[in-house]
């Protein structure tokens, strides 16, 4: 098998080789990260280069952290500059509401009272017209919610409370490096939807809209647990 890395300096680097630093920083998509991991597992030379990159990564962080922080002078200068800026124009929506308020403020109380009365009459007229139209279209028949004893009673009257009747759900914690695009792709793949928010970093996911057998649900959960961007997945009602 051809090695993924290149030994000769004058050779162009391979695609995987160029992705190694991004893999070390954890900024690759799940798909690319998997490609890199597969390549690292099968190419010791590439793995050696990755170890070198990890060292560079750590020292770059150490170097930057050693740079310290700016003095208070920078902040004072900034806020003094902001104070010296001309007053900003209000946004369009604020402007519009201000103009509407100003319009009503210009009207006299008598005019306002007349306008309000006119509005009330218009509302009453509108309600009358709608009522008349509804009465005209209504048919004489009506239905009540009743149970016919003549119908075959194959279906139960009450809901089945068995666990198998509901689509399977799981509490899932995503890996810190998981990106929104990866999570969305995972949800698509599993036809899953988030039914409850991130409580303690856990999401409650529902898979599909139909109930699954115990085996099916267990296999789905096992598959989910193997996903790179999933750090924890447990079944939940």
């Amino acid at each position: 098998m051809m090695a993924t890395s290149r030994k000769m300096l004058d050779q162009e680097p391979s695609e995987i080789e160029m992705l190694l630093p991004f893999h070390a920083a954890g900024t690759l998509s799940a798909r690319d990260a998997r490609r890199v991991e597969d390549a690292l597992a099968g190419d010791p030379e590439l793995a050696r280069q990755y170890a070198v990159i990890r060292e560079e990564y750590a020292e770059t962080i150490r170097l930057n952290e050693s740079l310290g922080a700016p003095s208070v002078r920078a902040m004072q200068k900034l806020f003094a500059a902001i104070d010296g800026e001309p007053v900003r124009k209000p946004s369009l929506s604020v402007n519009l509401s201000a103009r509407i308020s100003a319009f009503f403020a210009k009207l006299s109380p008598r005019t306002l009272a007349w306008s309000a009365s006119l509005g009330a009459v218009a509302l009453l007229l509108q309600a009358g017209v709608i009522g008349a139209v509804l009465m005209k279209n209504q048919t004489a028949s009506f239905q009540t919610a009743s149970l016919s004893m003549n119908e075959p009673s194959s279906a139960p009257i009450t809901r089945d409370l068995g666990v198998a009747a509901a689509p399977p759900r799981a509490l899932v914690r995503f890996a810190p490096e998981a990106r929104i695009a990866d999570i969305t792709a995972l949800l698509d793949t599993y036809q899953a939807s988030i039914v409850d928010g991130a409580k303690g970093g856990m999401f409650r996911l529902q898979f599909g809209n139909r109930a699954m057998s115990k085996d099916e649900a267990a296999s789905l959960l096992a598959r989910l647990q193997r996903e790179k961007i999933v750090s924890l997945a447990v079944a939940t009602p």
């Binding site: 690759l28 990159i53 902001i82």
Partner: protein, 166 residues
């Protein structure tokens, strides 16, 4: 603005300082960057992370500040000034401290290489984000980082440190 400043000013300062190599200039940069942000807050489209937007502005301001400096060789002089504060890579290598030598050599990289290394390793920006900040195609981001790393290896080798790559 105070919250935004409080959350990001150190990151902006360090990125700026690595580019301009002058604390005073880097501090002035922060004020300029956040003042721009205050003025153009309405233009932020939310398509990228706030840090990506801030770093792009910082880079632009840093390059403008560097261009304002009259003497072209100042960049190298500043680098030397920084290096003078402690041992040079050869001496460090004699002390068998690879980490310190690595940090020395990271400082000695060209500004083009320094910014890409910092953006990827320290600011943890993805290929797409670096491309957006630096204004180069994504493939160029990958190759530029590769050659920055190769240059780093050459500097380390010159300092007597072999790491088994390239």
């Amino acid at each position: 603005m105070q919250v935004l400043y409080g959350r990001h000013h150190v990151r902006v300062f360090r990125f700026g300082l690595r580019l301009v190599r002058d604390e005073q200039v880097a501090e002035d940069l922060i004020s300029e960057v956040f003042l721009d942000v205050w003025r153009q807050a309405g233009k932020f489209e939310g398509r990228s992370a706030v840090t990506t937007w801030l770093l792009a502005i910082t880079r632009f301001k840093a390059l403008s500040a560097l261009r304002r400096r009259k003497d072209v060789g100042l960049d190298e002089e500043a680098a030397n000034a920084i290096e003078d504060t402690s041992d040079d890579p050869e001496v460090v290598a004699q002390k068998k401290d690879t980490g310190e030598a690595l940090r020395k050599c990271l400082t000695a990289l060209s500004s083009e290489h320094r910014e890409i290394v910092d953006l990827v390793y320290y600011h943890e920006k993805s290929v797409e984000e670096v491309a957006g900040i630096v204004g180069i195609p994504e493939n160029t981001v990958k190759t530029r980082l590769f050659y920055a790393r190769k240059k780093l290896a050459e500097l380390l080798k010159a300092a007597g440190i072999e790491r088994g790559w390239p």
